[in-house]
């Protein structure tokens, strides 16, 4: 469904991605993990054309979208709940959701709204509240809900669990699974919370300094000693580590 080939991207003279190859098949949940500054957010933003890819190609459902204007990319069926949530602070919850649906025929709006509010009953209670005054968890729900309002086939999520209490994190991950299974939305998930993310994912990639260092099924990476040492250290939910011969990649 999505295939990324030899992708490079830079901010000015600083290159952030050095030839990334990633595939996401329809129906999958694919996770990308990596340390701070590895280039995960840059990759998701490059998929949307901000920044523009320097080299390489991005193909979505057989169409080359590498050079498409950003506002056209979402019209192809890719929605993005970006890093930092980026809720419109001085617009109500309803208006934020309406903005999510700008590319969709208005005749679907009532049904879609209903679906999102069923998924996130908290948003229903706060439909008239200004986005900027929501709690972090509520903002994250709104960011995902807003992305779903565009009827995406591929959902890009950038650290949806960031800054949330463990209970809310579990709730968010459950919802991501539901979206994937029930609404048949393919998910490409960037996470720091590697344990949850790898458990949820069908397949996963590890990014180090703008390159893909490793890939495999979620379970494989979860069992890998290097991954454990680098991304799961101290994770109390993880089983005891096997002796690790090598440090992180």
């Amino acid at each position: 469904m999505l295939s990324i080939r030899n992708l490079e991207a830079s901010y000015g003279r600083i290159q952030a991605l050095h030839g990334v190859d990633i595939d996401v098949e329809a129906g999958e949940i694919v996770t990308l993990i990596g340390a701070n500054g590895a280039g995960k957010t840059t990759l998701l933003m490059t998929l949307c054309g901000k920044p523009r890819a320097g080299k390489g190609s991005i193909t979505f459902e057989g169409e080359d979208i590498t050079r498409l204007p950003t506002y056209q990319i979402v019209r192809r069926g890719i929605a993005h709940a970006p890093e930092g949530r980026r809720i419109f602070p001085r617009m109500s919850v309803l208006e934020n959701l309406q903005m999510g649906a700008v590319t969709v025929d208005p005749k679907y709006f009532a049904d879609d709204l209903d679906r999102v509010l069923t998924l996130f009953p908290r948003l229903k209670e706060r439909i008239g509240q200004r986005g900027g005054t929501l709690s972090g968890g509520e903002q994250q729900m709104l960011a995902i809900g807003r992305a779903l309002m565009s009827r995406p086939r591929l959902l890009l999520l950038d650290e949806p669990s960031l800054g949330l209490a463990p209970l809310v994190v579990r709730q968010i991950f459950d919802i991501i699974r539901d979206i994937n299974r029930q609404q048949k939305v393919t998910v490409f998930l960037v996470e720091q919370n590697a344990f949850h993310a790898l458990k949820l994912a069908h397949r996963a990639y590890v990014m180090v300094n703008g390159r893909i260092a490793m890939s495999g099924s979620g379970a494989e990476l979860l069992a890998d000693a290097g991954v454990r040492a680098a991304y799961l250290e101290g994770g109390h939910e993880a089983p005891p580590p096997r002796p690790a011969p090598e440090a992180a990649p």
Binding site: F88, E95, Q98, M99, V102, T103, R146
Partner: protein, 304 residues
């Protein structure tokens, strides 16, 4: 008391005109963070287009005043909107993403271009126009005093109120207004959601130009004389109004416009008419010193 009432009426009329222009400054600032110094000249262009349109209608033999007014209103808005749209395309869009001062310099250049263009095309001399709407009401309270409210003043205020209502409705209730506010709050996110930001910015310039065109039409009718230079001073005052109300805030622009009109009218009425501009710009200095965010502005000053 009569004298006070008269200044109040004059001030509200003038303030309506400034308020309509001020909205253009504040909207453009809100959405792309620049001061469009050519905006005052759009108002001047609107005034000239109105005058030309009136003459054209007279030649065509349309003498019904309400019909002529309605037609001129539409024509002024239409043609000034084209100018507003073109200014953004030619002078600002190519500079988007360049350093912060670049569009500002370009705006000043655009303003000079427009003034000289109108000067060459229409001549440097003041253009007079026959009063079109006459009559009014005598509101004198005491014998021997004189207070009047002209039909034209009523028209100006009503038209302003009506336009403000339509404009507020567009901004708060329609998809266009929603996309505009979203773009203003987070342009990147709006793009990620599929908003064509270039179109929204064009729409912002078009709406601002339409309102400035109406102000230009009003001033043509109200003062009966226009020249190529009226945009500069009125533009500066409307800009002051936008800053006074809080740049980026739409209700602020309307409020600031009214206040500047009132200050100017009362200062002229009670102190000296020669120093009315000093009073207005004195206010600008005071606001910038004591309340840089303006009366209704948001406390955040990230975009300055």
């Amino acid at each position: 008391m009569d004298y006070f009432l008269q200044q109040l009426i004059n001030g509200l009329t003038l303030g309506s005109i400034y308020g309509l222009i001020a909205i253009g400054y504040t909207m453009v600032y809100g959405i792309i963070g620049m001061i469009n110094f050519a905006h005052g000249d759009l108002y001047m262009v609107g005034a000239f287009i109105s005058m030309i349109a009136f003459m054209l209608l007279a030649v065509l033999g349309i003498t019904s005043v309400p019909l002529a007014l309605a037609l001129v209103l539409v024509m002024a808005m239409l043609f000034t909107a084209v100018y507003g749209w073109a200014i953004e395309r030619i002078a600002y869009r190519p500079l988007r993403g360049s350093f912060k001062l670049a569009p500002l310099i370009s705006a000043i250049g655009m303003s000079i271009v427009l003034e000289n263009y109108v000067q060459i095309a229409q001549g440097a001399r003041v253009k007079p126009m026959q009063p079109l709407i006459q009559g009014g009401f005598d509101l004198s309270l005491q014998p021997g005093h004189h207070t009047s409210l002209s039909l034209l003043q009523i028209l100006i205020m009503l038209l302003t109120v009506g336009l403000m209502a339509v404009f507020s409705w567009i901004i708060t209730k329609t998809p266009l207004g929603r996309a505009q506010r979203a773009t203003e709050q987070d342009m990147t996110m709006a793009t990620l959601l599929g908003v064509n930001v270039d179109r929204i910015i064009s729409a912002t310039f078009i709406i601002g130009a339409c309102l400035a065109a109406v102000a230009g039409l009003m001033v043509t009718l109200y003062y009966g004389v226009i020249d190529f230079y009226i945009g500069f001073i009125a533009g500066m005052k409307a800009f002051t109004a936008a800053v006074l109300g809080g740049i980026g805030s739409l209700p602020g622009a309307m409020l600031g416009g009214l206040l500047i009109g009132l200050i100017e009218a009362f200062w002229s009425g009670y102190f000296s008419i020669e120093y009315k501009d000093v009073a207005t710009f004195g206010i600008l200095v005071m606001v910038l010193i004591f309340r840089p965010t303006g009366l209704l502005g948001k406390p955040e000053i990230e975009k300055v």
